[in-house]
């Protein structure tokens, strides 16, 4: 059984017990435990079930590479699936549940898949479920989906907050093991600004477990001194619980800091995503041990040798009483010695190497451990727990020589450098034949903004496994980093050390070497996704020879551990099957993040109220307090209508329209773009931008203008006012202000840079109010101060003055077809003017109206709306706006485009008014049908509706639309089939439904 030892465990504090629960059972651990170590201490070896076959699975590793021990954790808004038990620090009240089983972990229905495993090889689903056709969607797929997946879906809204942090460093060091610490020191002493991050809560990495001496003292002392020294340096920032998640172009590095996962009760953000810019990045990310591929290597109790000794050293937890060690290298002997030192039994060390190990083997034998060379595991027996191992010769086919009872197996297939962060941004790898591993090819690093390499690997991550040599390598990495910065690298004294003499590793990709199909079907490569040696071989046999094909066909390495344990083993099996060398097969691509990071942290602060900017006008609060039904328009939030009492939106719109047409309506038009264009060449510039002639406009006058893109399409419209000889005010649509401002700057800066014109976006300087309706003049006269009579201020004229004490610009323009004014005052005065107008307008039933009433009223007048009548494919000629296109001008933006064949075609649909014969409202977006079908069998069409409303003014439906040869077909009817099954028959009429003579606005 797995249990807590009476002694040891450098990370735990035995004086601080912690209570947590697993599958509803209350358990005890100690502060400093991970969930995995605490579960093992409670003899909970089985921690989950696999993805495909639902096989019982125990913890295999002790860190980020763990494929099996994934948990549902937390409750409600703090629930999260797929939490890795090996990297979860326990705290009081932690509630974990195992995953992927039903009804429970011990007894799981889904394990039936395991019984049929033979019928479910890699890719079986590509070859089956083909008939009957409907069954995939309705029967097979739902079954597969239910059986797959891992954790439960969260249900509640996230109760935590997250944030980002921008940080800039000369040198960022990823990994706070010995190599990372040493590299950081070298870089820092040479004057670089250094950021050092470690995913664990603890510094020192593997060296803290594996020990050894530096300068004749225990390595832990050296590490403690190093950390203290770095902490004392001004130019060094140390962050633990922060993982280097991804390396991106130009030295962009994501640091994933887990602030509250270990202490959720504290206030503050849960995770912080650091967006780091580093001139140089040192990857001191260590190495990960490889499993060995033998039958039954997934039975709970089979663990990585390094992990098994981590649990002993770090947490005082033993995985079993009798631990068989199986290895192809010297490193695993440390585990045997650690087990022995803990007072437990190691019945045998199986060393697959014919010649066995070196000094380590001697030490093991000296400790009284039986060591067998050239031996392997033929098979592990047991179901939910290891019972025994059957021993065979590595060179053979698996003939059992002996069976040894045990309750844990420590395996080691050698170590693979963690090259992920080196590779994320294009760093290349080379195959190190001697050590059977891929390591960074330092001649082909990721290239930065200047074209030079910006990532430097150090220590074990660079394939240097020896501690002492690794220190030298780390120092070298630190030096190279500062030299790349143009600094002089200071010489740092490195401690004396004795290089451990190790016998060479012997690659073992299949155990035993000649294992037959039955064993290969039980030898796991990818634990979580249930990919076995036989699956990779099947893929190769079927022609999925590229490593990417094999990966995708078998799902090798695609689980939540992203193949940290399985990639190299799988690759080796594939290469062997194809009869080619490993580097010929190549690797799959390493993609960020290194381990999964919370989506919440990526979203950062952008959620809820600050998900995106909401732009507000100075009168926003009034709208909110007066029943505004909001409409997002770009980033602005505008009132669509103001609801009174239990009025519906439709009723409110109708009321607002009638009140405006009858007396007085007020519109918050502040969002309209207001661009000031000034300079001696301003007129000439606007002549190029607008289709109309603007240079001839007289000061104090207004003119409606159209703007097209260079591709000819109508892009914006608005009233241009000439404020003085050199200065124009160009109104744009609400959505157009920034876009058109950018458009103007672009042409001025990149094409006509010698023209003397300046542009300022003054949109928000001004609050603008539409004062609309037959009583609009009266209300302004009540405010007083400016003569707004017909004589003093005619239609399409502008004046400025103190209107009722406000600093006002007054434009006599009309979008509703009534007598109306637009009043602009500085934004700080906007709300006061709005209030003053209501006060003065009370006797006229002054009514605020929203965007929908504005839309309906302009449609009643036949005015186009950008975004309704236009959609990016419409030219002004389509809309009967040829009058606004200057014939005199040689050039304007869009003119050349409009001369192209398809644009000049008289067959283009033209804007007309549409009136249903029964007064009903044509549905939004309806098309007018023509006879017959096109070559693709689609119904022919001859037009479409662009705006369609119920007009309360006229008491019937009105619409505008684009109709083939429309203006020549006045009085004809066209048919609009609706998606509601009805057909709407409409008469083609003039688009001006209301006051065609303009008698209302010109008073």
């Amino acid at each position: 059984m797995s249990t807590r030892l009476t002694q040891g465990g450098r990370r735990i504090d035995r004086n601080k017990p912690v209570t947590f629960s697993f599958n509803g059972t209350r358990l005890k651990g100690f502060e400093g435990d991970t969930l995995a170590s605490a579960l093992l201490a409670n003899d909970q070896m089985m921690m989950g079930r696999s993805f495909k076959y639902h096989r019982p699975r125990g913890v295999v590793a002790s860190g980020a590479e763990e494929p099996n021990a994934l948990m549902n954790m937390g409750e409600g808004g703090k629930f999260e699936p797929n939490q890795r038990a090996t990297t979860t620090e326990i705290f009081d009240g932690l509630a974990a549940k195992s995953q992927n089983h039903w009804p429970n972990l011990e007894f799981d229905i889904g394990v039936v898949n395991n019984a049929f495993a033979r019928f479910l090889p890699a890719g079986f689903y590509y070859k089956t479920f083909l008939f009957p056709r409907f069954a995939w969607k309705h029967i097979y797929e739902p079954f597969i989906r239910q059986s797959a997946g891992l954790g439960q879906a969260p249900k509640a809204r996230d109760a935590d907050t997250y944030e980002h942090f921008y940080f800039f460093a000369d040198v960022a060091v990823i990994g706070g093991g010995l190599a990372g610490l040493q590299a950081a020191k070298t870089a820092a002493l040479s004057g670089a600004k250094v950021l050092l991050m470690e995913q664990d809560p603890h510094w020192g990495g593997r060296s803290m477990v594996d020990g050894g001496e530096l300068d004749g003292k225990p390595v832990a002392e050296y590490i403690a001194a190093l950390v203290a020294e770095l902490e004392g340096m001004e130019n060094v920032t140390l962050r633990s619980r922060m993982m280097g998640a991804g390396v991106y172009d130009h030295g962009y590095l994501l640091g994933y800091e887990r602030l509250r996962d270990h202490a959720p009760a504290l206030v503050g953000p849960r995770h912080r995503l650091w967006k780091i810019r580093a001139k140089q990045i040192i990857t001191a990310t260590g190495a990960i041990e490889r499993p060995l591929s033998f039958a039954g290597n997934d039975i709970p109790g089979v663990m990585l040798a390094g992990a098994l000794r981590d649990y002993i050293a770090d947490y005082g937890v033993s995985a079993g009483d009798r631990v068989v060690v199986v290895t192809n290298n010297d490193d695993a002997y440390k585990t045997a010695l650690a087990v022995k030192a803990a007072g437990l039994d190691v019945p045998v060390i199986l060393d697959a190497r014919a010649d066995g190990g070196g000094a380590a083997a001697e030490a093991a034998r000296a400790a009284g451990i039986r060591v067998e060379n050239g031996k392997a595991i033929a098979k592990v027996t047991g179901g939910k727990r290891v019972k025994s191992v059957k021993i065979c010769a590595q060179a053979g086919e698996g003939g059992v020589l002996e069976e040894i009872a045990c309750d844990a197996v420590a395996m080691s297939g050698g170590w693979s450098p963690v090259v992920h962060l080196w590779s994320h941004c294009g760093g290349k790898l080379l195959w190190d034949e001697e050590h059977a591993m891929f390591r960074p090819d330092e001649t082909r690093p990721p290239l930065g903004a200047d074209g030079a390499g910006f990532v430097i690997p150090a220590g074990a991550a660079n394939g240097v496994m020896d501690m002492g040599v690794g220190l030298t390598d780390a120092d070298h990495a630190g030096r190279r980093a500062v030299e790349a910065l143009g600094l002089v690298a200071k010489t740092v004294r490195l401690p004396d050390f004795e290089q451990a003499a190790e016998a060479p590793l012997q690659p073992v990709w299949m155990m035993p070497q000649g294992a037959g199909p039955k064993l290969r079907m039980k030898a796991w490569l990818d634990y979580q996704n249930d990919v076995k040696v036989s699956d990779v071989q099947l893929a190769a046999r079927e022609g999925y020879e590229s490593v990417e094909h094999t990966k995708r066909y078998t799902t090798l390495g695609m689980a939540t551990d992203q193949g940290k344990l399985s990639n190299i083993n799988g690759l080796a099996v594939l290469s062997e099957t194809l009869g080619q060398a490993i580097p010929e097969t190549g690797t799959t691509t390493f993609r960020p993040p290194y381990t999964p990071i919370s989506i919440g942290s990526i979203a950062g602060e952008a959620r809820g109220e600050v998900f995106q900017p909401v732009r507000r006008t100075p009168m926003y609060d009034w709208h909110a307090a007066n029943g505004a039904h909001w409409e997002p328009v770009g980033q602005w939030r505008r009132a669509y209508a103001y609801l009174r009492g239990d009025e519906s939106v439709h009723e409110a719109v109708n009321r607002e329209i009638l009140a405006t047409r009858e007396s007085l309506g007020l519109l918050d038009a502040s969002t309209l773009g207001k661009l000031i264009v000034k300079g001696p060449d301003a007129g000439k510039f606007l002549d190029m931008l607008y289709t109309n002639m603007m240079s001839t406009l007289k000061p104090g006058k207004c003119r409606y203008g159209l703007m097209c893109s260079e591709n000819g399409f109508l892009s914006d419209d608005g009233v241009v006012v000439r404020l003085d000889e050199e200065t124009f005010l160009c109104h744009t649509t609400t959505g157009g202000a920034e876009r058109i401002h950018g458009h103007m700057e672009e042409w001025l800066q990149t094409e006509w840079w010698d023209w003397k014109v300046y542009v300022t976006n003054a949109t928000e300087q001004w609050a603008q109010i539409g004062v609309v309706g037959p009583n609009s003049r009266k209300v302004l006269e009540k405010l007083g101060g400016v003569d707004v009579s017909k004589e003093a201020l005619g239609f399409m004229e502008y004046t400025a003055g103190k209107l009722g004490g406000f600093d006002a610009r007054i434009f006599r323009i009309s979008f509703a077809g009534e007598l109306s004014y637009e009043i602009a005052v500085p934004a700080s005065q906007g709300r006061a003017l709005w209030d003053a107008l209501f006060e003065a307008g009370a006797e006229f039933n002054a009514t605020a109206y929203g965007t929908e009433a504005m839309h309906v009223m302009r449609a009643e007048k036949g005015f186009i709306m950008i975004g309704d009548e236009t959609d990016g494919t419409i030219i002004p000629q389509d809309l009967g706006l040829s009058w606004a296109i200057s014939k005199k001008k040689e050039d304007f933006l869009g003119k050349r485009a409009q001369a192209r064949e398809f644009m000049a075609n008289p067959e283009r649909w033209q804007l007309v008014g549409l009136e249903t014969v029964d007064g009903s409202v044509i549905p939004d977006g309806a098309y007018a049908v023509a006879e017959g079908h096109n070559a693709n069998g689609q119904r022919n069409v001859e037009g479409r509706v662009t705006s369609t409303y119920y007009s309360p003014t006229l008491g019937k439906g009105i619409a505008m639309g684009l109709i083939h040869k429309g203006p020549e077909r006045m009085g004809e009817t066209v048919d609009f089939p609706g998606t509601d099954g009805k057909t709407y028959t409409a008469k083609i009429v003039s688009a001006v439904f209301y006051d065609p003579e303009g008698e209302k606005q010109n008073v």
């Binding site: 944030e163 921008y166 503050g268 001696p680 934004a827 006061a832």
Partner: protein
């Protein structure tokens, strides 16, 4: 006109730093040849300070000048004086090609102060706040909106954004300043 209002009526928040809307400031967007001596002296006349160089920012109480681009300066004066300042510039530079627009009301201004003020900004703006000090204006983005800021003194920053985005700016600054979120790197 007495009833003039800033966007948030001086709202404030205390977290790991103090975030406060600073009320209305007089601001003039000036476009022109910043190297011309006439321009320089006109700008100095209204602002009381010398035109600074590239990305420079000189603030003296309510008055100041900031270099916004090779042909743009931000002129700061008391809010009530902004219109007069524009007139003064128009008069002084008559006949030149330039532009002076009163944009006081198009802006919202915040102060972020306290020991962690720089951290609050560094959570939202892609700028190295470690090397940022008084005398410089940085135009960039804060979260998702364009903004500019400068440091008045150590641990006190002024942030300028568009008025319509004041609520958003305040909201993101509050998030960044939430209690318990100290980073502890400066």
């Amino acid at each position: 006109m007495s009833d003039v209002r800033s966007a948030l009526a001086g709202a404030s928040f205390e977290g790991i730093a103090r975030v406060a809307e600073a009320g209305l400031r007089g601001m003039i967007s000036f476009r022109g040849d910043l190297s011309a001596s006439k321009v320089k002296s006109a700008l100095k006349a209204v602002s009381g300070v010398e035109m600074p160089g590239q990305r420079g920012c000189v603030v003296n109480g309510a008055r100041g000048l900031a270099w916004m681009s090779p042909d743009e300066a931000l002129v700061m004066v008391p809010h009530a004086e902004a219109e007069d300042a524009v007139s003064q510039l128009n008069k002084a530079l008559k006949g030149q090609h330039f532009m002076a627009e009163n944009v006081s009301d198009a802006r919202a201004v915040f102060t972020v102060s306290g020991r962690h003020a720089r951290e609050v900004i560094a959570k939202l703006a892609p700028v190295d706040m470690a090397g940022f000090g008084p005398g410089e204006i940085r135009r960039t983005r804060i979260a998702q909106v364009a903004a500019a800021f400068w440091m008045d003194e150590a641990d006190a920053l002024t942030v300028v954004c568009f008025r319509s985005g004041a609520e958003y700016m305040f909201g993101t600054l509050k998030m960044a300043a939430q209690p318990g979120s100290e980073v502890g790197v400066y």
